[in-house]
Symmetry: C2
Subunit: 444 residues, 2 copies
Amino acid sequence: MKNNIEIGLLGLGTVGNGIIHILNHHKKELIAKTGATDVSVRKVLVRDLEKQRGENVNKEMVTTKAEDVLDDPNIDLVIEVMGGIDEAKQYIEKALRNKKHIVSANKDLIALHGDELLSLAEENNAEFLYEASVAGGIPILRSLTEGLASDRITKMIGIVNGTTNYMLTKMTKEELGYDEALQQAKDQGFAESDPTADLEGLDAARKMVILARLGFSASVRLDDVYLKGMNAVTAEDIDFGQQLGYTLKLIGIAHRNEEGIEVSVEPVFIPEDHPLASVHDEYNAVYVYGEAVGETMFYGPGAGSLPTATAVVSDVMSVIRQIRLGAATQVNVADKSETVLKKEEDIRAKYFIRLHVRDVAGAFKSLTSVFTSNKVSFEKLIQLPMESEELAEVVMVTHETSRTNFEQIINDIENLDVVETVKSRYRVEGGEADVPEQRDLALV
Amino acid sequence: MKNNIEIGLLGLGTVGNGIIHILNHHKKELIAKTGATDVSVRKVLVRDLEKQRGENVNKEMVTTKAEDVLDDPNIDLVIEVMGGIDEAKQYIEKALRNKKHIVSANKDLIALHGDELLSLAEENNAEFLYEASVAGGIPILRSLTEGLASDRITKMIGIVNGTTNYMLTKMTKEELGYDEALQQAKDQGFAESDPTADLEGLDAARKMVILARLGFSASVRLDDVYLKGMNAVTAEDIDFGQQLGYTLKLIGIAHRNEEGIEVSVEPVFIPEDHPLASVHDEYNAVYVYGEAVGETMFYGPGAGSLPTATAVVSDVMSVIRQIRLGAATQVNVADKSETVLKKEEDIRAKYFIRLHVRDVAGAFKSLTSVFTSNKVSFEKLIQLPMESEELAEVVMVTHETSRTNFEQIINDIENLDVVETVKSRYRVEGGEADVPEQRDLALV
């Protein structure tokens, strides 16, 4: 039983510094809770030896040679917070082959190569934990694999990208436009200088892949995710949704039923009294449905140096407990049965559609005939006059239909002479929205 | 390494039946996730041998003799869901001495004797888990001890009693009176026939004791909890609070700072945009503040057969993993440093006060002089005329002050000739409430 735990750290950015802060600041409690006599960072891989470091990092600790960390026999556990894919993967593989336990915050890597790395960890009797890779400070992976372990999870709905949630909150509450909201997110440090992966939903998709794998014990690949970014969202769409009782969020959905699994990331309207609708600003939340437990939700900061570092160090503590128990072997016995993805025609949802329709006799009849011939009715509809007297704004929410049928409907609508343009279309989730009576709507 | 895990069950009420349902219904996944070859219930202690049981309970399994469960060498793990204190304690102690692991859902027992039973478990190298004892299906204990293990928790605010939250939701949203709300809770199965422990806050206090102990690694006793039930809450109080932007909830608060620890349960006003304010009906939630992670919240069902059983079976799975790892020993190394409770004068909060004041010249001056002489100002105030022309309704929210100072203020107010009666008083938590501009208030 090893009592003095020594850590190797790959990367010393904001999260790396947060980890060193927590390890030092909470050392007494950390030792008390794990029973270790000491927990310390032995070596840190950095890019620049000369850079000025904080008081807890001395010259002897830093190195630019990965092998100083990966081959040091005194190091029990390697924390990877360097990011990127190829180099990080190579280092983690080497550390695992050297029988070192791994804690990683690298969602890109785990979404792409998680299965492979976990197998390698198992072969080497090493732990591999990655709580920080999804929803920063929220202990959601642990809740899925342990707290709700006895249940059968059927659905997860996640707000797992802080940048887009911050922007959508500003667009909803302060009626900012897309560009203004993005600029504010950058100014506040909630968007990176290149926010493409956030705006296009790729960042959220990586996290949903990790959630779906763990929650469903299934093999889900990034390519399996249906992906639609928030680039086309407008303030008008949000406003029309609100008039119908909905809030727009960039939502990841992972769902399974007897037909298979679906994973998607797209802007989705949810009823404004749904718990996810009150997740504001840069906060994240994951709503989990289990057959037995029903509805639960886990809410907290999705990013940031200290929240992410908390998740990493909590993983470190789990590993230390395992080391101290002399049980440094995962009971990694996930269901290896084949993963079946739902067919497009089995992916069912309600949809919000916004159209500009020519204000001519028979226009409405042509429109409704498209729905009738595709066997879908709509549960809500607003028609509003527009400044141009020749056009009318039509907003509708359909009853549930399949994705293939919905695409057919959109195609048919676009071919109607009376339809000038399909302005926007969104999936609708989370049950029925109540349209407050006092709202001044031209409901048909 | 034992691969075939046999369970003894003490009690076969709604939760007990839920446990048997989940163990059977999810057996395949349970086995896959723990690596056990089988997990089954061997013996069940019941009161009545003749009672008709479900298809998963046969005659050979049930017994009325506790020793058939506690002394059976084949039983690895005992689940206690019989409730009550003395008998349950005695059985658990015997099982622990026989080196059996324990999973319990018994908050009354754990709030009173948790420390003692955990020590006995440690002596006998047995696991003792009790996730189901707090907030039913929400994996909150695990989140505190593992997910947020690396952080220093400073505050927990919990809605941990479903009965009172259901009633307060009805009183708030549908403007029901207290008695009507209680009757509905009974009709819906959310209140027991004798709801005293719920209404007086005792049930919530037990859960807060368990949360405070785990979250703060401290010894907190039930007697240490400041307790005020919801028996005196009126629909008018709720309505006046709403006018000031607050929602009333029966809230458990556990807070620690350099002055010590406080634990309380009482009806509290929180700002209506606080995440806890949108926890409706019978749902529970625990808001957790950690120094590093910041704000997190855990939301879900607080009771019910299957949610509670989910928590129990998840604990069972943790124990099985430990058994299979051959590591059946807790690394139970909580901080044993002495627990210091805050003094009354160090417990600080804002307060809501509602008064009936005689409508005479100088009344307001006498009232404000009480606050001035006690060095507290108020941040919000409404004065409204009443049907009786001689009286005015005055509602105010103070700035933060100590509990002792607040009691002095109430005492001074009650002694004023111009005050007819102090109608109600509530603690206010969770930051500033925005008073929406469009509200028609006589704000002074």
